[in-house]
Amino acid sequence: MARNPNQPALARNGSVENWGSKIGVILAVAGSAVGLGNFLRFPGNAALYGGGVFMIPYFISMIILGIPICWVEWTMGRYGGAYGYNSAPGIFSVLWRKSYGKYFGVLALLIPVVIYMYYVYVEAWCLSYAIDYATGKMAAIAENTTPGEEIQQYKDHFVNFVGKDENGFPKGKVLIILAFVFLPNFVFIFRGLTKGIEVFCKFAMPLLIVCALIILVRVLTLGTPDPTQPENNINNALGFMWNPKPIDKDGTVWGALSNPQIWLVAAGQIFFSLSVGFGIVLNYASYLRKNDDVVLSALTASATNQFCEVCLGGLITIPVAFLFLGASQLNIDTLGTSMALGFHALPAVFSRMPAGQFFGMLWFFTLFIAAITSSLSMLQPAIAFLEEGFGLGRRASVTCLGFIVATGNLIVIYFSKDLLAHETMDFWVGTVCIFILATIQVITVGWVFGIKNARKEVQRGAELHIPNIFWFIIKYVSPLYLLTIFSCWCYNNIPVFYENITQVLPEDDRDTVLFVLAFLVGVLIFFAMLVYLAGRRWNERETWNRAKEEVGV
């Protein structure tokens, strides 16, 4: 049930909650920010798309899209929360003041729920790999392997591990590990996030940062690990990541900037990394009090995320891969996807590294912590909607959502051939829908709610003053940039997708993709219907409250 907007935020036991130390605030911010994309997706994208050149569209996207849209999301959430709405449909209905406004929030329910369906599976992979490193099983895979063949060995292992060669449930222990991963996820989610996750973050996040720093120091001090290959040294390794280079063999360094793909990838990376357009921050910010800060909070979360991405991920993943694999093995096959980099190339690196078993265990455990702190927050938007839209308690909401998520998760696990189900969900929901939602959000604030209102709303309680230039950016530049990028992205990718479906993919794979698409459309329609029903309930409640006021009850 929506709370009285005039009451301050209350803890469940009815007393006003204190936040603890300032360090606790920072640690919790870090816990919100960091995920798998910091350590796998960013380094792979940067290395593939021009190295140092990639940082130009990356930082431009961060300043023009990432941080402004973060501020927009936090502001929208807090504003909607002041009217008693914690769900995206409710928040959008307040901002648009039209009956159709609430339907824009459907995407903000769909996106985190669908991403959770495959993200938690990747989380299980990370934990499983960490366990296998601890027990020595991963090291054993590359024993007696010809140097240069390790990547193939680990690729074969991964294919068997997830059942990538054919559809069906994988035979190994991955499902058992997934059950172990689901357990803490749902225990924390069931209990509500302030009872457990805050404590979890205060230990997990320092542990993650410490683990990553240990690995960073190890990588930067490796020098030339193999004296017979002096070109594979730390200086060249850093150069592979940071030297500006052309994207195509025949291109020029600065010509890479005229390739729209580099701008698409950079913007997508910022979106995914900062969790912009996911609907999660929209929900969380709705629980803030009217005068709680949004500016410094959002900026600190973004800055912490960038620290983990640029300063840790950027200095660890690609350099260590170069040191042990060399430039010849770092190509589109090993860098093209986070899966390839994380689960094919990096195990090969650890197989050659001194004390590689320990560092491999540490690395995958770090990834697991990064993933779980992200996954724990993904279901809250939908839980909040079920609670306030239908008056359900937390347990009933989590149970309902658990069935939806479990169904999607089973689809991802079963249709494992070439990870098609996973890739399809990631393509349409994890990329397309995020772009759409971010565009809707920035247009809502800049053009529907209005910049004047937004300025007043953002600065209330703010610890920092937003420079005036950002209001111009939010109103004109961000929407234009987003629409341009999205149009280019559609132009580049939709025909390829269509061609794959109609001509390239074998019939079975085509059926898988269409089935997954049908499932996603079904979930979208289901959420839209729920929003319709919730909207009726909200209207009835408002009518009843107005009638009570008139009668003086």
């Binding site: 973050c201 702190t373 927050s377 610890e463």
Partner: protein, 50 residues
């Protein structure tokens, strides 16, 4: 690594370090930051187990 690579790396890492240091400094300096600054995972979602 060539000169351009060093410049890119130092500027990128330096910019991010300056930004995060500035943010944490402001958080630590703000007298009541713990009362009205929040991170997403710390926010109380007021759930009622009914």
């Amino acid at each position: 690594m060539n000169l351009a690579g060093w410049i890119v790396m130092i500027l990128s890492v330096g910019f991010v370090l300056c930004l995060v240091t500035f943010c944490f400094y402001r958080v630590l300096r703000t007298p009541k930051s713990t009362e009205h600054m929040h991170a997403p995972l710390e926010i109380d979602t007021h759930d009622v187990d009914t």
